[in-house]
């Protein structure tokens, strides 16, 4: 089912675990959504993991789940993740799923729903993080299963991780986002990673996300504030005239952003687990981003080698030519 009668772009229903009501974040979230209908639930998985959910339809009418995470909160990242040279690379699951609806997002492949879970027991997260820090310095990706910056209109998780980084120098926090609403803080152990894509990719495949101009403004504002900024050109997505598309994009980036002041740049083409791709195709059955005839390598679907090399070299050569080769990470 689909159609024009879906609830508009807001949370029509907020499902809240009974045990979550005592946490201050619940009231914080509810105060932003007074029109939402609150449904008390026993456990978030009863809603999040319902069988047979129509993720494509849900993505047009997302709902919110507020829950207490009693399990593990901080995880060691997979070896295929970008660790940017940091040895101990972790991610934290303070929320699951994203407010945006990018066709190619691995979250659509990983989760059985488009609804968003926000865990509200912030103190437990801080305790687990501080305990881990006693073992040594830690690089923590805070926006791994979500876009926390985009969710900062809903909850204060981004601020929590920023403040933790500001008070714990052994902790490096990375906040990755496609969002433009960015109020950044200056600290060497706080990295704002902006994912930038050509406008054509944004309009075709990154539904609900800000335009490239707005993201560039956000990057420049962060640089002006002295924040440590990473630019992520990842994933590069195939379109028929990708050479023109990404060349114009590189022009615009070099013209609009002072790359001298950027910490580093990462480039990577789209790749995804074969299992996740099946779900992505169900969720976005008409998107060329997921219907591409991928090559299968070790359980992952990737672009053919020659295409991958060509796509990466468009941006890599331009950034190297502009003198920023030493800042490049290629995945």
């Amino acid at each position: 089912m689909c159609g024009q009668f879906l609830y508009p772009d807001k949370f029509s229903h907020i499902y809240i675990e009974e045990r979550a009501f005592d946490h201050p974040m619940v009231n914080e979230v509810l105060s932003s959504f007074p029109q939402s209908r609150v449904i008390r639930i026993r456990h978030y998985k009863d809603v999040f993991n319902r069988p047979g959910q129509d993720t494509g339809l849900q993505s047009k009418s997302k709902n919110l789940i507020l829950a207490v995470n009693e399990g593990k909160k901080i995880f060691e990242a997979s070896p295929v993740c970008q660790d940017f040279g940091y040895g101990k690379f972790y991610y934290v699951q303070s929320a699951m799923n994203c407010i945006f609806g990018c066709d190619y997002c691995f979250l659509k492949g990983m989760y059985a729903t488009s609804n968003i879970v926000i865990f509200v027991n912030t103190d437990d997260y801080i305790k687990e993080c501080e305990a881990k820090l006693t073992e040594g310095p830690m690089y923590l990706c805070a926006s791994y299963d979500t876009d926390l910056t985009a969710l900062s209109t809903v909850c204060s998780w981004q601020e929590t991780w920023e403040n933790l980084a500001l008070t714990h120098e052994r902790l490096t926090v990375e906040l990755r986002t496609k969002s433009a609403v960015s109020d950044t803080k200056k600290a060497p152990n706080l990295i704002y990673a902006f994912t930038l894509s050509p406008d054509r990719i944004i309009s075709e495949f990154e539904k609900g996300t800000p335009s490239l101009d707005r993201r560039i403004e956000s990057v420049n504002r962060a640089i002006e504030h002295g924040a440590f900024v990473r630019l992520c050109f990842d994933p590069l997505i195939y379109v028929k005239d990708y050479e023109l598309c990404y060349n114009e994009f590189a022009d615009k980036i070099i013209r609009s952003i002072d790359l001298e002041k950027v910490k580093d740049l990462s480039i990577g083409t789209f790749r995804i687990s074969s299992d996740y791709l099946k779900n992505l195709k169900r969720s976005c059955p008409h998107s060329s981003a997921v219907l591409f005839p991928f090559v299968r390598e070790d359980g992952f679907c990737v672009y053919p080698d020659d295409l991958k090399t060509k796509m990466i070299s468009i941006l890599a050569e331009r950034f190297e030519g502009a003198g920023f080769g030493s800042k490049l990470y290629i995945f």
Binding site: M1, R37, I39, D46, L57
Partner: protein
């Protein structure tokens, strides 16, 4: 197809006029086992989720409540015996008040406020959700009593349901507007022309879907390559070559 289920005949009779080739009406019998069995029987033993992507289940029936009145769209179902919860996925705007439902094994004589009580909802939902996504299971309950069910006659029940028929019709109309006819596209002709093995048919399907997403006529592209083939007879090896050529053209 829209499948309406009611527990008893007097709930169904005001809805009989809705039945047509696209709408069925089934009287399940009272209780959650009967409701679940009726859903299973309606869909049959061989159906899969993919077969039923355009099917919708609507449960219409009376219920008890301490203080609620009128018709409600159920947003949570608790099975009183198992204490399991089920959540219909409410993604569409029906403009009907929502309420939670408790499904009990017997009539609840002292119903609480703010909640509905029936005897079928959990069984029907759980059975339907085996094959139907939770946004296509719609539970509509009409409050008939505060536990004092002995005064309810078939005529009273039918009259109560009749009162809400316009709202039920509106829900059906809204649901129907969202159903999309599944294109029945077959590439059997291409499989045959290219002497496709099982893995080649998967590749053809993938390329056709990708071509369509790019706005390219995939079939025309395949036919061009088949016609351009120098060999009068295409064998499996030639078929693979053509598939690779089409792939190269699409991702060039």
């Amino acid at each position: 197809m829209i499948h309406i289920f009611t527990a008893i005949e007097c709930e169904a009779s005001p809805l009989r006029h809705l039945v047509n080739d696209d709408i069925s009406l089934t009287v399940t019998g009272v209780g959650k086992v009967n409701a679940a069995f009726a859903v299973g029987r309606t869909f049959g033993p061989d159906k899969t989720r993919n077969d039923l992507l355009n099917d919708v289940v609507i449960n219409v029936g009376i219920c008890g409540s301490g203080n609620l009145e009128g018709m409600y769209l159920v947003n949570k179902i608790t099975d009183n015996a198992s204490q399991r919860d089920f959540y219909p996925d409410i993604l569409r705007v029906f403009d009907i008040d929502e309420a939670p439902l408790i499904t009990a094994d017997d009539t609840v004589t002292d119903p609480a406020d703010g909640v509905l009580y029936d005897m079928e909802g959990s069984g029907l939902f759980e059975a339907a959700n085996k094959l139907i996504s939770p946004d296509r299971i719609i539970i509509l309950k009409i409050v008939s009593d505060k536990g004092d069910t002995e005064r309810l006659t078939p005529a009273i029940i039918s009259s109560l349901i009749s009162k809400y028929v316009p709202d039920i019709e509106r829900v059906i109309s809204e649901v129907r507007s969202g159903l999309i006819a599944k294109p029945d596209e077959s590439y059997d002709d291409l499989y045959e022309l290219l002497h496709a093995s099982a893995s080649m048919t998967v590749q053809i399907d993938e390329l056709m879907a990708f071509a369509s997403s790019l706005g390219v006529d995939g079939r025309a592209l395949f036919m061009e390559q088949i016609e351009a083939s120098e060999d009068a007879k295409i064998n499996k090896a030639k078929g693979k070559e053509i598939i690779n050529r089409v792939r190269s053209i699409l991702i060039s």
